[in-house]
């Protein structure tokens, strides 16, 4: 059974549709890249999947033992976070909140999980450092570790490499790839980076309007090739 299914989903703000009609279905271990221009509703779709925004039409369903609050989310960084006084440890462990209910403190297991995720992101040595003093790449790893504390089933990454230099970007992609291949974490990533699509994705959702399409990477690359040939022909 599919982990995530969207059937004829349309999302928008205050009665104005932002996205086209979206149909997709993802299984455990898939790696979906969501591409589209600014304003094509990539972040809105993320919020829809997270349940922060109700779809105007259609249905988003979860299966294969995945619940809506078991999605790890890595949002784009906000201005507020840039100079936020918090240690790496404090931020990463806040990912465990979904499991703590009304309990006002974190358990030993939570702390061990946070350490484990820090180690997995290779930033255990930064544990006591202040978030605002870290480099862009390190900050992204912290946010990824936090998302992993929330879940290890599905990750939503909203333009995770925005503002990173090429080398750090590549490192980050490799890290995500390892999670995907070795631990079967389903990945949904918003990205402008077509290079990443061809290298890492298993599926592609193109949100550029009319028509929105959801295909496997191979089909997407074939489509793209055709497009290039056509444009080559006109030159």
């Amino acid at each position: 059974m599919a982990q995530l299914t969207c059937e004829n989903v349309i999302l928008g703000y205050e009665k104005t549709a932002v996205t086209g009609c979206i149909n997709l279905s993802l299984n455990k271990g898939d790696y979906l890249c969501i591409i589209g221009d600014n304003g094509s509703g990539k972040s809105t779709l993320m919020k829809g999947i997270l349940g922060l925004r109700k779809p105007m039409e259609g249905k988003i369903t979860f299966g294969d033992d995945l619940k809506q609050n078991e999605i790890g989310y890595m949002p784009q960084q906000t201005i507020v976070q840039k100079d936020f006084p918090a240690s790496v440890e404090e931020i990463v462990i806040s990912g465990c909140l979904s499991r703590s209910g009304l309990r006002p403190f974190f358990t030993k297991q939570d702390k061990m999980l946070a350490d484990e995720m820090l180690a997995k992101m290779e930033i255990l040595d930064l544990k006591k450092r202040s978030y605002r003093e870290l480099s862009g790449g390190q900050q992204q790893r912290v946010l990824l570790a936090r998302a992993l504390c929330a879940t290890q089933k599905m990750l939503l990454l909203d333009e995770p490499v925005a503002g990173l230099d090429p080398e750090t970007t590549e490192e980050f992609y490799e890290l995500v790839k390892r999670l995907n291949r070795e631990e079967q974490v389903t990945i949904l990533m918003v990205s402008h980076d077509l290079h990443a699509v061809s290298k890492y994705a298993s599926h592609v959702l193109n949100l550029v309007k009319d028509p929105v399409f959801f295909v496997t990477k191979e089909e997407y690359l074939k489509l793209n090739q055709k497009g290039e040939e056509v444009s080559d022909g006109t030159v």
């Binding site: 949002p75 006084p85 918090a86 979904s98 003093e133």
Partner: protein, 282 residues
């Protein structure tokens, strides 16, 4: 030694003791909230809400309420919830909404007080307005009932803060992520708004509505110069705030300066010291 004797003499009065207890508690509560507010870019909500509270007080005076709190508290809580919970997608953005409400409430309050001057008990509109805006000696006229009310509310605020500490951290740092992992962000925002309103209505007694922002902002900003984790910033800002409030009140008693302004001056000195330490530490 003369000053010391004078101090001991004053401190033997229960009224002065009450004032110190209430002052310290208010300073503590507002500094706790301050960290969250400053980091959420809502520094001015204290200013805005205190003007709303002033407006509500003016109406309570004119409408001849026997217990003004019955009007002030609900109105302030309501406005706080409106400001904090409407989110980012409203037509009027957060800072503009705060500014509009703040100035509007201040003007309206002053207007009704001047239209119905006969309702002001002291018969001195200007004096009354001045003392609500800048705080007053009314801190020295607290009854033991006021003190117990204040202690009760402070315990409530501190309790909320300790119990929901990790949730407050999560919604301050990243509301979207918190919501995505199933934290009831809206409910916590309403709780936070209520607590803020309560603290502001309390703090009006101490420093008056114009200077409340100072109690909220200065300790946090001072602590952020030096400390780098959320927990340390909160603990430090609470300590700074309590020390400054005590110092300010004692100085104002000894040299008969205005309480509110003296406390704020103490906070400013503390900020200067911490900024210097921060700069030296690099």
């Amino acid at each position: 030694m003369e000053l010391f004797d004078k101090l001991v003499y004053y401190l033997s009065y229960p009224l002065v003791q009450y004032a110190l207890v209430v002052g310290v508690l208010i300073a503590l509560c507002s500094s706790l909230l301050g960290v969250t507010l400053v980091l959420k870019r809502l520094s001015f909500i204290g200013d805005g809400l205190s003007h709303v509270a002033f407006g509500a007080m003016a109406f309570a005076v004119v409408l001849n309420f026997s217990n003004q709190m019955l009007l002030i508290l609900p109105v302030t809580v309501l406005v706080a919830i409106l400001l904090l919970c409407t989110g980012k997608n409203t037509k009027i953005k957060g800072d503009a909404a705060i500014a509009m409400l703040s100035v509007g409430a201040l003007a309206l309050g002053y207007l009704v007080l001047n239209i119905f001057p006969e309702m002001v008990k002291s018969g001195n509109v200007a004096g009354d307005v001045c003392s609500t805006l800048f705080g007053s000696a009314s801190l020295l006229t607290l009854s033991s009932k006021d003190v117990w009310l204040c202690i009760g509310l402070s315990v409530f605020v501190i309790g909320v803060f300790v119990f929901f500490y990790h949730k407050l951290f999560a919604i301050t740092f990243d509301e979207d992520f918190a919501a995505a992992t199933g934290v009831k962000v809206q409910a916590y925002n309403i709780l936070l708004a209520t607590v803020i309103a309560v603290v502001i209505v309390l703090a009006m007694k101490l420093v008056g509505s114009l200077l409340i922002s100072a109690l909220i902002i200065f300790p946090t900003m001072s602590a952020m110069r030096v400390f780098k984790s959320f927990k340390n910033v909160i603990v430090c800002s609470a300590c700074i705030s309590v020390v400054c409030a005590l110092t300010g009140m004692l100085v104002s008693i000894l040299f008969s300066t205005p309480v509110g302004a003296t406390v704020v001056a103490a906070d400013m000195v503390a900020f200067g010291i911490f900024a210097l330490i921060g700069a030296l530490k690099g």
